[in-house]
């Protein structure tokens, strides 16, 4: 397998030798940011296209076909339109917060995005409390949504924001619990290390029953975190018109739209990293030939493939179920997911202590 860290080191050495240390750091930062942003945007476009096509397939229709071959250019035309769309200044809105809110949402998702390990060494942020950092960074997106709802001076937005506050903060808990379950199994919080450990078997197999339960809880909580159906109460089309982003037009809305899809990708990416082995290929103990063959597929393809599969599952869920009601959302979290998650954590700990894992 290719180790991208050698390439990164080579670039690092070149920059350090060509210019003073401080400048080199600045250039490195800019390079990393540009790479992350480009990747972010291209994945966003891919996700939106995929959503439209997958959704259409579940609904026995075709989806975009007329803009470009198979409708491939559809999302680009949407982007062009959104960029030139008028941005409306809302009377009585809190200007600063109103304009800040979409950036907060996008920022939080970009920071989380940069923690994803696309292949060995291909990761922008990697340090010893990586998982912890991801959770912290992703949860400040809530702030953006709350502010958007609050500052728009619109009652629908307000209700949407309040709903999202209640919902996302609750679900943060069971998401944390299910990730914690896996941290117990791995014994580390560093993302690169977690993935490295899984080259000898994915955690979802090694942790067997508690890991599978944690995975399911994680998917449910992750779905709720991204505000997608059946948990799309903050936007709830048929109830609150467009929820917290009712008053946003043009790119303001575009940011929320992109962030929603990217959050889904990130949730799926984290699931891949900690449950399905990240970029690690499929490893079955005892089948050396098979394992060896699997290693020929590059790690980034493994990662993206697995992530897109989980994204597809999330879309499948989204286009099947009706929306929950706010009290049911909270009942599901506090009466089911949290207790089950806690017990699951206990089971996992016992398993690890007794050595009942693979």
């Amino acid at each position: 397998m290719i180790d991208f860290s050698s390439i990164v080191t080579a670039v690092d050495c070149f920059l350090e030798s060509a210019m003073p240390h401080q400048l080199a750091i600045v250039v490195k930062c800019i390079l990393a940011a540009v790479c992350a942003l480009v990747a972010y945007l291209s994945f966003a476009i891919l996700m939106i296209y995929m959503e439209r096509k997958v959704c259409a397939s579940f609904q026995c229709r075709l989806g975009p076909t007329r803009v470009g071959k198979w409708g491939l250019l559809q999302v680009f035309s949407d982007v062009f339109k959104m960029i030139i769309k008028e941005i409306i200044e809302i009377k009585d809105s809190d200007r600063i917060l109103y304009n800040l809110a979409p950036f907060l949402v996008v920022m939080s998702s970009i920071i989380t995005f940069s923690c994803l390990p696309f292949a060995r060494g291909l990761q922008v942020l990697d340090f010893n409390i990586g998982i912890f950092f991801i959770m912290a960074a992703s949860s400040f997106g809530i702030l953006g949504i709350l502010l958007a709802g609050w500052s728009s001076s619109n009652k629908f937005s307000m209700i949407g924001a309040m709903r999202s506050g209640g919902q996302m903060i609750s679900y943060e808990l069971s998401m944390g619990l299910s990730i914690l379950t896996l941290v117990v199994l791995s014994g580390t919080m560093q993302i690169s290390e977690i993935t490295e450990m899984q080259t000898k078997g994915w955690f979802i197999f090694r942790g067997h029953i508690p890991a599978v339960i944690a995975f399911i809880i994680y998917l449910i909580a992750g779905n709720a975190e991204t505000n997608r159906a059946p948990f799309d109460l903050p936007e709830a089309e048929s109830e609150l018109t467009a929820g917290f982003h009712t008053e946003y037009s043009g790119m303001g809305f575009g940011f929320f739209y992109v962030a929603e899809f990217m959050n889904m990708f990130i949730i799926a990416g984290i699931a891949t990293t900690i449950f399905l082995g990240g970029w690690a290929p499929l490893y079955i103990p005892g089948l050396e030939g098979f394992n060896h063959a699997m290693c020929y597929i590059p790690g980034s393809i493994w990662f993206i493939g697995k992530t897109l599969f989980i994204v597809w599952v999330l879309m499948w869920i989204r286009w099947t179920f009706p929306r929950l009601r706010i009290d049911q959302v909270l009942v599901l979290e506090w009466k089911f997911l949290v207790p089950i998650g806690l017990i699951n954590l206990l089971i996992m700990t016992i398993c690890v202590v007794m050595g009942w894992t693979f």
Partner: protein
């Protein structure tokens, strides 16, 4: 740069209706020439705009059900990229006025139109929105939404079948494709707030003065 005749996949230019109005618009815009570079950019922007017309879900009566049919599996306007119907007027590009507009609804329609972000378009679907249709001599019906907001495309029918609505949307695409966004006035800014009084056939039956 000259604005060319807009092309739509699968329907040749000549087979479209009302080409002369379109050509008149092109001639009007071509009077103010701009340079080539801006023209190219314009083409790109118009291409983006015309393929991403998100409509406001606005339906008052029968035509709204046909509009729902267009969105459903059989006609699937997602093929054109129109499927993102927005419920908030801020995010919508066009208002598809499907159904009768009454006196009580007129201020609401006007306000919705004003709430939309530029560029915005209006499609009048069905007889009621075009002229009051079946109810045009009623005391409580607005005789055509073009009295209060400027209309870009008229789709006649009562209600028009889903293909006719798609056809109307393609007509709108053609109109969007000849607009100028940069260097030159936008066709929208040229537009008068309330257009000319449309011709209306005045021959209301009264029920009394008819031959036995």
């Amino acid at each position: 740069m000259e604005i060319k005749r807009p092309k739509i996949k699968s329907i040749p230019y000549e087979e479209f209706k009302d080409n002369d109005t379109l050509e008149a618009m092109i001639a009007q815009i071509n009077k103010e020439r701009t340079n080539v570079l801006l023209g190219k950019l314009d083409d790109l922007i118009n291409w983006g705009r015309s393929n991403s017309l998100w409509s406001l879900t606005f339906a008052t009566s029968c035509c709204g059900i046909e509009f729902m049919s267009v969105g459903a599996a059989r006609y699937d306007f997602a093929r054109f990229g129109f499927e993102v119907t927005r419920n908030s007027p801020r995010q919508a590009d066009l208002i598809m006025c499907a159904g009768t507009i009454t006196h009580k609804m007129a201020p609401v329609l006007k306000r919705l139109y004003d709430q939309m972000a530029e560029p915005k378009y209006v499609v009048a679907v069905g007889g009621c929105a075009i002229s009051g249709g079946p109810f045009k001599d009623s005391y409580h019906v607005l005789n055509g939404i073009d009295k209060i907001i400027p209309v870009d495309v008229y789709i006649p029918g009562c209600p028009p079948r889903p293909e006719a609505i798609l056809y109307g949307m393609m007509q709108l695409q053609r109109k969007v494709k000849i607009e100028k966004f940069l260097g030159g006035k936008n066709a929208h800014q040229n537009r008068k707030e309330i257009p000319d009084e449309p011709i209306i056939v005045t021959n209301y039956p009264t029920g009394e003065d008819k031959k036995e």
